[in-house]
């Protein structure tokens, strides 16, 4: 098991390296003189030169990249220059993390709770009107990105009917109900797309699994339909569904950007937008690194769960 993890992590190293390169090169994209941009419009020529030296911009590209890489490896991810000057970029990210983490988790939980019964029902009643309605629903859901569902949900449920608070966030420490009341609408807004993708995948793989010989055996054993589907079929249908679930993380991170702004939640997405507007490049760079590593980490975890679902995939 440890060997498996080590092997996978090793495989990710080139990618991680490239990610640092991408994040580094962002700064190269800045048109004009980055030192001037960072120092601000009111900076004097001396201040600009100071900034240049401070950011190491007076050295050539390779040296700068290696310095950057060295910094990362030693755990230093740069300092915020405009949002909260002086504080470490990673600190800001970690401050914002609980919000986004809550949002992501609740969103995925909602997605799974809705999508699994939906997919199972559609698969078991394949071809009937139930299947067609559910499949139609997923098709429409696919087309509802968070930035459409967000405003619509806010308009209907928060502004018109005041069922939920429209903005803000309260941490879990304030109590579960309070925490959930602020999270529910934004998480729901993000989950539509995930419901669609997960639901479809479950339907597809369950249909395939139900045709397998071992399902016939399970029926021949006289097991109830619930048991046949719930125990025998689903475990085998799970793998592609888990893969899709893993892919949702990337999507949800993108979704949080819009949703956190709409619902005024101080999460990582909002941090991303704010730091872009404030020209706080170190924070932007740190965010790129962070989100990429989050995705890579999630993929690793998904790969590890495969071994649980399909014993054939376990090493040795």
């Amino acid at each position: 098991m440890i060997r498996f993890i080590a092997w996978r992590v090793g495989g990710m190293l080139p990618i991680a390296l490239l990610v640092t390169l991408v994040s580094f090169l962002l700064l190269e994209l800045v048109p004009g003189d980055p030192a001037r941009v960072v120092a601000g419009d009111l900076a004097t020529p001396e201040q600009i030169e100071e900034t240049r030296a401070k950011l190491g911009l007076d050295q050539n590209v390779v040296v700068r990249y290696l310095t950057y890489l060295g910094d990362i490896l030693s755990g230093s991810f740069g300092e915020s220059i405009s949002l909260q000057p002086g504080r470490g970029a990673m600190e800001l990210i970690l401050d914002a993390l609980p919000v986004t983490l809550s949002l992501t988790v609740v969103s995925l939980v909602i997605a799974v709770i809705v999508a699994v019964p939906l997919g199972v029902a559609a698969a078991l009643r394949r071809g009937t009107w139930v299947d067609q309605v559910l499949t139609g629903f997923t098709s429409v859901s696919m087309a509802l990105p968070p930035f459409v569902t967000g405003p619509l949900l806010v308009t209907v449920l928060a502004v018109a009917y005041s069922l939920f608070p429209a903005v803000g966030y309260q941490p879990l420490s304030e109590g579960f109900a309070v925490w959930m009341s602020y999270l529910f609408l934004p998480a729901l807004a993000i989950s539509f797309n995930s419901i669609a993708e997960i639901g479809r995948q479950i339907r597809g793989s369950l249909i395939d699994v139900m045709d397998q010989s071992y399902i016939r055996t399970a029926n021949a054993k006289g097991l109830s339909a619930t048991r046949v589907v719930g125990k025998h079929a689903l475990k085998n249908a799970a793998i592609p569904a888990v893969t899709v679930l893993g892919l949702q993380v990337t999507r949800v991170i993108g979704g949080t950007v819009v949703v956190e702004i709409i619902f005024a939640m101080p999460g990582i997405g909002a941090l991303a937008v704010n730091s872009v507007f404030a020209g706080d490049f170190p924070v932007v760079q740190a965010l790129v690194l962070f989100s990429a590593f989050a995705v890579l980490g999630t993929n690793l975890i998904v790969d590890l769960t495969y071994g649980y679902f399909d014993p054939r995939l376990r090493k040795g």
Binding site: L29, F147, R251, F281, V284
Partner: protein, 296 residues
């Protein structure tokens, strides 16, 4: 890396170049659903293009006294916070959104397809490197990368869409590589090589036509994603810049003033959902056609 769900099966044996083309077109359009969706899309595009001729208002005709009016006989969809006619803006916005989508997907195709074909056909060091690049791009959430690029380089639809295109490229890369790999195993490729065809010619004439169908499937799905990305960026204020109007900027405007007038949020949102739905359905229809190989 985690596997892609979209199993790239090649149900029909790949054929050498010429014979492929007409068969592909007929196969893809076999299902009625596909034809219907395609027709609606084309109609939508046409309407958006001739939009300016249909409405008496200009996209920037402001009427500050008549802001945020509900739908009426003068303004079928009402007015926005600057008093502009929303229906006119819808046409303009659709145009821009469609253009943005084209830009992003074109970038993705140009980056992903040639690299994928070459990697699938040749493999080797190039394959390893491009796989790594592709995987790297896949690990970056599209919106975050687009934000970062826009933040560094500056706003506007074009840089944003190029950025989105870069994040979409790996999908096309994977599809092209997969098909190229399976096609390359065929003997007609061997024979082409033995008579001295260059790699370019082989890829262009023999491999590429077999890739067209799956690429079109990806194209449809990616177009929907690109439109969403553009709209999201514009909604955040980082995409289209005034005086340009996109469905995203309309949504932003409407949302900012949501408590004054609820209606304006609906037209852009519904339209985005509609366009994305059409492209998704088109993608589904094309994919079903590819998978069933045209057999009913």
């Amino acid at each position: 890396m985690t596997a892609t769900i979209e199993a790239q099966r090649a149900p029909e044996a790949p054929l050498p170049g010429g014979r492929r083309r007409s068969r592909t077109a007929r196969m893809l359009l076999a299902e009625r659903r596909t034809r219907v969706v395609l027709a609606v899309l084309i109609a939508l595009v046409l309407v958006a293009l001739i939009g300016p001729l249909l409405t008496p208002y200009g996209t920037n005709e402001q009427d500050l006294l008549g802001r945020l009016q509900p739908p009426s006989s003068e303004h079928w969809l009402g007015t926005d916070s600057f008093g502009r006619d929303i229906l006119t803006l819808v046409f303009a916005g659709t145009r821009l959104s469609l253009f943005a989508g084209c830009l992003a997907v074109a970038t993705a195709v140009l980056l992903g397809v040639p690299a994928g074909l070459l990697a699938g056909y040749r493999g080797g060091a190039f394959g390893v490197v491009s796989n790594t690049v592709s995987d790297t791009l896949l690990s970056l959430p599209p919106l975050i990368l687009a934000l970062a690029i826009v933040g560094a380089y500056g706003g506007g639809v074009v840089p944003a869409m190029l950025a989105v295109g870069v994040t979409l490229a790996p999908r096309f890369y994977r599809v092209s590589r997969g098909v190229a790999q399976s096609v390359s195993k065929n003997s007609f490729i061997e024979s082409a090589r033995s008579i001295g065809c260059t790699t370019g010619r082989i890829l262009g004439r023999h491999v590429f036509p077999n890739v067209v169908a799956p690429i079109l499937v990806q194209f449809s799905f990616s177009f929907g994603l690109a439109i969403i990305a553009e709209a999201s960026l514009s909604f955040l204020g980082l995409g289209a810049e005034p005086p340009a109007v996109s469905l995203g900027t309309m949504a932003r405007d409407a949302f900012t003033h949501i408590r004054e007038a609820a209606f304006p949020i609906f037209p852009p949102c519904i339209l985005i959902a509609l366009i994305v739905f059409l492209f998704s359905s088109l993608g589904d229809g094309l994919r079903d056609a590819v998978v069933s190989g045209g057999r009913r």
